[in-house]
Symmetry: C2
Subunit: 136 residues, 2 copies
């Protein structure tokens, strides 16, 4: 994952005006790296920014996705999660504790059969199971 010293600058470079809300939302995604939902981002930041509306969280995340600085995680059908790490990596969700873990894999290892002459833009690898901590 890329290193960012100044989030305001980083947003500007990506053609996003760094408002207080946007900086805090990106900071949350970038530092916590916990693949949050809209709900949990809003719940977490409402203390710091008491006027923060859920609409702003939705708008901001949509903008971040469009500018390519975050990605959507669809590992579960009833929740949309977000990730500030846009590098190639997979996601594991523990069906017991619900935590979403990152893991690494090499894209080039996967031999795909049946997509000749298809243009590939994004690859998502999702795994579900029981995490190490929940196996006790």
């Amino acid at each position: 994952m890329i290193e960012i010293k100044n989030i305001g600058e980083y947003l500007k470079v990506n053609k996003i005006m760094p408002s207080v809300q946007r900086v805090k939302i990106f900071e949350y995604l970038y530092t916590k790296r916990n693949h949050p939902t809209v709900e949990s981002i809003h719940k977490e930041l409402i203390d710091e920014i008491p006027t923060l509306s859920k609409t702003t969280v939705y708008n901001t995340l949509k903008q971040f996705v469009e500018k390519g600085i975050i990605q959507i995680i669809n590992i579960e059908d009833n929740e949309t999660r977000y990730d500030a790490d846009t590098s190639t990596h997979g996601h594991f969700k523990c069906i017991k504790c619900g935590i979403v873990y990152d893991f690494l894999f090499d894209n080039s290892d996967i031999k795909i059969n049946g997509l000749d002459n298809f243009d590939i833009h994004q690859t998502h690898l999702y795994i579900k199971g029981i995490c190490k901590n929940c196996k006790n």
Copy 2:
């Protein structure tokens, strides 16, 4: 994908009473193999079964998933799709025409780094891009 001669029998073997609705819904998934949404299943079957309610489609699909005879496809965050093929295979969605294609890949090729001592239950590989037909 497994071959099924008699859908009613197949449902019974999987501890599902083969009502007309259930047989038709499974038949649709199994024969069309087009990864439909609830909406499109309902729209397609309403002519054959004019009283079919959307709740029944939801209930039936949920039951099929619980019994393990279909799987959920979460390639897009705003639509849940269903697949009667539960063997290991990937899904490609064309961002132009919206068609979801199946493709094959070998699970054992993927070298995963970071999930030592995790129990893996399900693996989903989703790819988005432009399909062969839309490249013109």
